[in-house]
């Protein structure tokens, strides 16, 4: 399992020493605006994994998250000429990512409501049960299965949070953003960040009560 990425603030993840130095976001944006299309490629390569994983935590669907990540970068591509340095590129990118996920979830909710009103139960199952939705567990070793079980528990808990609480807990605990950065991404006040994070944690305490009792020692 991969540990949390630290020091991602400002868009520069800590890299192994032997890796070639990456161009800074501002340099990449300036190069792209000046006509260097490889600069955009570098931005995508630098952030695709983080954007994809944020989408995955938000929508819990690998295929949809892949499409959403593409949509995010398409928007970045189209909007980057208007990007102002009021916020860091990293914050701006997350703002687009969060909005894409929320839009998707709203559309999905509307669609589910429409389907449930217009069709009989089971009718839509052909669409839902795509091949990609069924994980292949055949060759996963036992330890990985245990970790997977924990991952499933956590992801299920995250999925049960409301969108507002979900996004804030992901930005804080998974991405490691500060309150100020979260406030920028969500265009809300620091006070709102503080109170929503509290509510998200209260809800998670309830949802993960069993897990927390088993892992009492892990806080040391």
């Amino acid at each position: 399992m991969q540990k949390k990425q630290t020091a991602v603030v400002g868009g520069s993840p800590i890299l192994p020493q032997q890796a070639p130095p990456l161009r800074k976001d501002d340099e990449l944006i300036a190069s792209f605006k000046a006509g260097d299309s490889t600069a955009f490629d570098d931005l995508v390569l630098k952030y695709e994994r983080r954007v994809y994983n944020h989408c995955l935590r938000m929508v819990s669907d690998e295929v949809e998250s892949y499409d959403l990540a593409q949509e995010v970068f398409l928007k970045v591509f189209r909007k980057i000429k208007n990007y102002e340095h009021t916020y860091s590129f990293y914050t701006w990118l997350y703002r687009i990512t969060v909005n894409c996920c929320i839009d998707y979830l709203r559309k999905k909710r509307r669609h589910i409501q429409e389907v449930s009103l217009s069709s009989s139960p089971g009718e839509d199952q052909g669409e839902v049960c795509k091949d990609q939705d069924i994980p292949d567990l055949t060759f996963i070793p036992e330890t990985a299965l245990v970790n997977q079980e924990l991952g499933d528990t956590l992801n299920a808990a995250i999925a049960q949070l409301s969108e507002k609480l979900r996004v804030i807990i992901i930005l804080k605990e998974v991405e490691g953003f500060t309150y100020e950065e979260i406030a920028e991404v969500l265009a809300c006040s620091r006070g709102t960040v503080k109170s929503r994070l509290f509510r998200a944690r209260e809800r998670l305490k309830e949802l993960l009560a069993d897990y927390m009792n088993i892992h009492r020692d892990s806080a040391k």
Binding site: M1, Q2, K3, K4, Q5, F32, K33, G35, S37, F40, D41, V44, L45, E48, R49, R50, Y52, N53, L56, R57, E62, V63, S65, Y66, A69, Q70, F73, L74, F77, I80, K81, N147, L150, G151, L154, N155, I169, K172, E173, V174, T178, Y179, K194, S195, L197, F198, R201, E202, L204, K205, L208, Y211, M212, H215, R216, S218, A219, K220
Partner: protein, 113 residues
């Protein structure tokens, strides 16, 4: 004093190490602190609120136990694996999409602003 310092200061961080402390759960006063406690855990509490909470914490087992719960949640969430995006690099799919768009509507491309 931050959350880390507090846990270290208290040795093992095991709440049962403090026999003199009240163990009846959160009092009304503690509930008033709970939002601040979450911000304190993040190192985001400042000013008077920080001073008040820091004065309260050493004598309150319930709040310290709550801090440990927050840490357990954090430990769990940070252990979540980050997965690579699908079988095919996003960049590849993106290039195709942009090329197709440019073909259909040359106004939109090429890959330069």
């Amino acid at each position: 004093m931050g959350y880390r310092t507090l846990v270290e200061h208290n040795g093992s961080g095991n709440v049962s190490d403090y026999p003199s402390l009240e163990v009846k759960g959160m009092s009304k006063q503690c509930k008033e602190y709970s939002v601040d406690l979450s911000a304190y855990f993040d190192g985001e509490l400042e000013g008077e609120a920080l001073l008040k909470l820091e004065a309260h914490l050493p004598s309150c087992i319930a709040c310290r136990s709550d801090l440990q719960k927050l840490q357990r949640i954090r430990n769990a969430l940070t252990s979540l694996a980050s997965t690579p995006p699908g079988k095919r690099p996003i960049l590849e799919a993106l290039r195709e999409k942009l090329a197709k768009e440019t073909e259909e509507d040359p106004q939109k491309g090429p890959l330069v602003c």
